[in-house]
Symmetry: D2
Subunit: 352 residues, 4 copies
């Protein structure tokens, strides 16, 4: 921790900071610069947070040297986390990127869902995704079919040999969801719903954590840290676009560079969601590829058997025939990248 004092900080103010740090077990070195006094404090930052030091009179800024996430960091665990499912599917490390596909919301037409599941299976995808509990900006929008949707998903996944992914919105739904769902998803709007993070942290299901619309990369990894700190280390990050000043052509701006950044600083797997990231059907293929070529461990894509009658997100869902074409081309890319991946990920580390 580095403490930069105000230019006009008094000697007494400097001494108060130093004494407080020393009394909390920090080793202190300090330099009087031409303008600013700078204090280096070496010690355990979990006992004294930077905010506490910032509150002292005369302190201009506190700079933390070490990244605040620990369990999610490569400093603590250098090898990639790989999550393995009972059917042998693996996410992360040098495994071939996975694909999670399905409708935004699970609807009443079970046959439609089954068509999507069969198409997913046919194209080599491993996961059926869909919403049972839907977070909606407006209370007048469709909020999901709840348990019925979960049953539909489980049946369609079992019939086709897929795993299931669905969003959990509240800790009180967790028990119910765990009966049907293989991977729990935390949505972008709940990325700092810490009660929910703690609850899934105590769960034994893998968790997909979506980046919030305004999450910095650091905050995103700290949200993962909340889950891991509560015991669940099987966290899969998901880049799905952040909010920017331009939403005329795409709903969000996909921060594709965040994928190699996170790969450098964290061992957790990360997937990419071009459907929510762009909100545009025609951008799903290029942006899925962009995510994969920079190292994503999987893609999440919205597919609907009849997008024009979808109850949510039809605009960004692929109809089944287009999905098959797109997924075929994505598979060509992932097949090739899979062979290259081991050297590529090695390079990323070397190039630092």
């Amino acid at each position: 921790m580095i403490i930069i004092m105000e230019p006009k900080a008094s000697e007494a103010q400097v001494q108060r900071v130093i004494e407080f740090l020393k009394s909390n077990g920090f080793e202190i070195r300090f330099n009087r610069g031409e303008v600013h006094t700078v204090i280096d404090a070496l010690g355990d930052k979990t006992t004294v947070t930077p905010g506490r030091i910032a509150a002292f009179d005369g302190v201009k800024e506190v700079k933390v040297i070490r990244e605040p996430f620990r369990l999610a960091s490569r400093d603590l665990k250098s090898e990639d986390t790989v999550i393995e499912f009972s059917n042998g599917v693996k996410i992360g490390g040098n495994n071939k990127p996975v694909a999670m596909v399905g409708p935004c919301s699970i609807e009443e037409d079970y046959d439609g869902l089954l068509k999507v599941a069969y198409a997913a299976k046919e194209m080599g995808c491993q996961f059926l995704r869909g919403g049972a509990f839907k977070p909606r900006t407006s209370p007048y929008d469709f909020q999901g079919y709840g348990e019925k949707a979960l049953k539909y998903m489980r049946n369609a996944a079992d019939e086709t040999g897929l795993l299931t992914v669905s969003e959990v919105m509240d800790a009180s739904d967790l028990d119910l969801m765990c009966d049907y769902i293989d991977v729990l998803q935390i949505g972008a709007r709940n990325v700092q719903n810490f009660k929910l993070l703690h609850a899934v942290g105590k769960c034994n299901k893998p968790v997909i954590l979506k980046r919030g619309l305004a999450s910095t990369i650091r905050e995103f990894l700290l949200a993962a840290e909340h889950i891991m700190y509560n015991g669940n280390h099987n966290v899969i990050l998901c880049e799905r676009g952040i909010r920017s000043f331009d939403s005329a052509f795409t709903r969000n701006v996909m921060d594709i560079a965040s994928i190699p950044v996170i790969k450098k600083y964290s061992h957790l797997p990360i997937i990419v969601d071009p459907s929510h990231g762009t909100g545009q059907r025609y951008l799903i293929e290029p942006m899925a590829k962009a995510g994969l070529i920079v190292g994503a461990d999987g893609v999440m894509i919205e597919v609907h058997h009849d997008p024009e009658n979808a109850l949510s997100d039809g605009k960004q869902s692929l109809p089944i025939p287009m999905f098959k074409e797109v997924m075929g081309r994505i598979n060509e890319l992932t097949d090739r990248l899979h062979y290259e991946k081991e050297c590529l990920s090695a390079n990323v580390v070397k190039e630092i």
Copy 2:
């Protein structure tokens, strides 16, 4: 609802959209422009959401004419909402702006809290605010003292004749909180935690809803709508800064203009929180005044009896002597504005 078709949309695509809208009870008028075909659809948008229409092939964009919030809108209720407490304190309308002050977190030093409460009362403030359950970006930061903190707050408030405000982070804490707290606060990170919004919507306590770091004004009002739609119309909005590209000097950018904008479109009261909005002690006074002069119905200010030893947010808390000076000057302003307010709010409407 206006539907703008792609330049190359076929006649069949146009007809499919029109027929779908007609079959859902919309009245249709449409114009073939030089480049784009535009369809005007008049009818009840709660039955067919814009997203459904956007999913049709050939649709470029769907433009909703009417704001999506209803209960929160002045269209439905033109006069200001005024929230009245059992001790006669009122928020909103032409009432004098209120002040909510207290530490970021309630800590173990009850006497310190009491000092703050007495100072608040002395300066004419109506509410003691403080955190019992703290949302923290890092799991290694202090998370609040829970029920003990609630008890301390209630006692300090009762001893001094104040009302209490505290943040609720989870629906499962609501019963406990309602035993101690007069106004429930929803934090910025939970502004789209819809389960929580629904839960406080079923509660009979007034709710302060903080704007999310990336909430548009429309989404902010829709979050209020979620609460109101579930039955609780006593919602107090709170502008507390949004995320921008510059956080070197202030933690967030306070969107002061959002206050008169919201006053124009909604009847709900809105307060301003310069402590979180700026993260800087020296900006609390000017930004509180900026919020009040544009029409805010109150201020929320962090005050601590010993900021250098605060467990959270000390940097942005006022120590008691400075608080008294600042609050004195704020009171001078609110006294004056109170007299002017009736004509001012009348002007805002006239000037549209």
Copy 3:
């Protein structure tokens, strides 16, 4: 300058950085932390920029302690800059805030302009503002009347006893403009047009520098530094809104807090432009007041004699009768603030 090395930086990499800094006259102190090595370098950063150090292998981050602006900084000049005109008008310091009003563009109707100028004079304003050369996002929009507009402005200002403000878009127009204009304006889009900054830096006219849509406060002050470094110290900053994720209700987000921030770190005067900052007529009055109450040295407001026929920015221009009402209320506020200002600005410094 503080240099934070990567966790895996080798001893050789650390030594290369240290030797380079020493050979450039820096005094070095360095600390080996648990994870990171941190190097403090004391010396003249104008000889070695942080970017050069950042390029060394093993360097994670370079943190500059001292703000990069010098001439614009209060460190170098603690008292407020006051700009005085030949007719006795003063901007900055404890002088009463000024008002600059006029149409977005100077148009062909000279009588209309004269009406605005007389209204401005009547309401105690000191400056007539208007565009002769207009920066326009689209090439199909009106680009200004050039020299004819400058002549109209000069005549209208001379007839009414006002000073003139107009935007310069290109160094080659400077000589022409200086014949007619008392204060040169640099528009938001040119805030980092360094050739233009250098050209006005060599001019002897005061310059209004508008904050760019994506300028951080630091970059904004560095743009002023470019002008000052070239010799012209009469720079008036102007907050006019920054770009955010929400432009549904206001064109930009006004960063009102930037005004007291800049007052703390710089001695330069700063004014506020609510017309461009919000793009909404009904927000001009509240946002002008918000800027003034936090310490702005003036306001810039668009006024048009017939906004419905204005060639640009009619939406955000006040018609003359409404301007008189609004300006009357703004004058009441500035009169009062003028008396309070000396103590207020003293407080801002004390409260740091």
Copy 4:
């Protein structure tokens, strides 16, 4: 153009708008909705800009249906623009993506520059890029060597058989630059320096136009329109990152999706600059690939013979050996994409 009236707009206000539009040759259709009156106006928007209509009392919002760029739009010219140089190099359409490499600034070490140029040629690159006139945020940073740098570049390019790219900062430098430079670059900070756009619009050299830090896609294409409107249709767009709320790990956020968006709406070629887009050496390879796989027509990469001694941007420059490795892998990708491109670009259009 669609005009949405305020809910409380009077009949007289509606009629004033309609009459004004009719008198300007627009055909009018209007619908009275439950809440809002909506006016559709069909006609030539170059005679009446939306801003003029927005200024009428009672108008809530003006929505332009047709994109405001014309010459840059695929509506006007559906086939891709291809720019061909005298040595046969081509940019755009189905041609193999090009590479522009070189140091941020041209420095005094000519041999160093020549090493970069030979490496570029060896790796199949077509352009040598480098700065002679440098826009710098601080006046204390290195500003470029001017004409000497241009001469160095020309010589190194001629010796190795490359074309030259360099940034023009001022119209007055254009004649000088045209003597040495094959492609003029407009920097991100000058994207709305309209005088400069007009000047290069009258030039017969191709222009690379970099997206501004806060440019929307629409504004970016309108900036290109300014150049084209003045006669120069050889515009190459360049995505180089936009400003976001997170700059801790990358200088900017690269908006990779903007590439396929622009490909859909415009016929102009677009390249990608991962050096400025990320500011991080280790992200150049992945982000160059991300840009190429979504359809970019080229990459621009900073390469320096000795980054630790570079006068600017060393941190984001590749040293020559690393450049060769990275460029080798990029070439493998572009070779493959070149074969796929024709079908890919066909798909992008089909999928709309």
